[in-house]
Amino acid sequence: MEHFDLSLVNWSRAQFALTAMYHWVFVPLTLGLAFIIAFMETLYYKTKNEEWKRITKFWMTLFGVNFAIGVATGIILEFEFGTNWSNYSWFVGDIFGAPLAIEGIMAFFMESTFIAVMFFGWNKVSKKFHLISTWLVAIGANLSALWILVANAWMQHPAGMHFNPETARNEMNNFWDVLFSPVAINKFLHTVSSGYVLSAIFVIGVSAWFILKGRHLLLAKRSIIIASVFGLVTSLFLVLTGDGSAYQVAQKQPMKLAAMEGLYEGSEGAPLVVVGALTPGKEYNDSRNPFVFRVQIPRLLSFLGYRSGEAFVPGVKNLVEGGYIYTNKEGKEQLALSLEQKMERGKIAIQALADYKAASDAKDTTAMAYHKNLLDSNFEYFGYGYLNNPKSIIPNIPLTFYSFHIMVGLGFLFILFFAVLLYLALRKEFKIKKWLLRISILMIPLAYIASQAGWIVAEVGRQPWVIQDILPSVAAVSRIDSGAVQVTFFLFLIIFTTLLIAELKIMFKQIKLGPKEGGK
């Protein structure tokens, strides 16, 4: 790894992270607000009450602003695949291509057709067709997210493919294994439900502002009730899918779990850290206490990770040194290899690829078969061949740990928030204290922080892997000038910040304008 330009890898990662985080500012609100609007329009369709139409149209306008300013921001990520991550782009082959192509086609048809009906179709199509279009926009937006998240889940847990050494590409041999991988299902459900929670908080926060200003009270009260119900149900579902996701992490990405929990030394009956502060500068192999302080629940990490309060949860040190018993992909118990052993097998796999290529060029079929066999039997450790020291498989533990605990803590706070608000809103007299209305507005940035923190856990926690165990970021990156990546990073930073400020101004302006006609 001596001649890897780590500054190139780090700048490329930083650039990708910046773009992805900017993209994710807009996506969760689109995913959830579309459903909230669909529920509101359904109430209009059922009751024929014009106030519901006015409410629907107001939130639809904010949905439109968010959708329009967020549109195509995800395409920049695809640009970066081709330029900064060309080895990776080639290596993933059609695994990424198929879901992204489906997403592209689906997004285009659903969005260009039904969004147009949703916005332009009032009084031009029947109420029923308009309502169906609104629901299809909501379903379509979420299905678009499905394909992107399936592709991301495959990177966290590669399944349903084989590696072709002739082309250096992974080829899909079972589409359903890719689509229905347990990681993909949990990731999709957890991610979209986080968007629903964020959207519910957005609706409540904006409505709370209206109540504080004494404007559009009926709209605000009805919106708070709808959003509180939607938020409470989806935030409880978020806990369920979060548990499912963490279980998958424990099985497939134990190092990420160790980082999420600041777990350096594994143990049976491992506790779950509820809140804590990590010891700064702690190394995986020093004897210092990993925490300055912590509050923990005994055995809960073992139970959540392995469904047994007595189960052994490996820590960072165990994952580097190996030697513990774990259950492999086939469900059999086996002794964990040390990092050194995995690196050795990874190097064998990489050398086998080089030798296969040489044999292929020489048309030596016997040698080709031999090296292919060697490659196949060591391929699950392919990526380890690019690593050369224990630290290289340890992600940024403080960033992963704090992001995880911020996300979880805020998630539980949101459940309490929705429950309290719904209780107050459904009492005989709708009365919410001013301080709670102010807190409701403050909840909006907290929802965005929780949402971004979730992605930090998912992506920082899986480092160094671009594809788990198979391709680290140092091998995935293109050999380009790191100076060029730095230039585009700062270019993005300036452009995105400017655009975000302008876009937020438009959103605030629309909120201040409020709904157009009528209302109390």
């Binding site: 790894m1 890897f4 306008t61 439109g64 602003v65 329009a68 300013i69 549109v71 195509a72 921001t73 395409i75 920049i76 640009f79 970066e80 081709g82 330029t83 060309s86 080895n87 782009s89 080639w90 290596f91 147009a116 916005f119 332009f120 179709g121 031009k124 050494p165 002739e166 082309t167 250096a168 590409r169 990874g346 190097k347 990489i350 050398q351 690829l353 080089a354 290529k357 061949g385 690019y386 140092v474 091998a475 293109s478 050999r479 380009i480 060029a484 230039v487 585009t488 270019l491 452009i495 655009l499 302008a502 876009e503 438009i506 302006k509 629309q510 157009k516």
Partner: protein, 71 residues
Amino acid sequence: MNPLKKVFLFYYEGFKSMTVGKSLWLIILIKLFIMFAILKIFFFPNLLKRNFDSDSDRSNYVIEQLTTKSK
């Protein structure tokens, strides 16, 4: 009326009657212009497509990259 004309008018009248500020559309157009006319063309070429003519050449290049990076 011709169905195509109907669809055209549906979109045309829809966009025409939109009341959300012009500045939103201006920002979207600027953003799309920056993304596709500047960033994509000048900063983000698809390296493998640009530098190689065939998939076979691309495969060879990536194999060479993957097998030399570990040494």
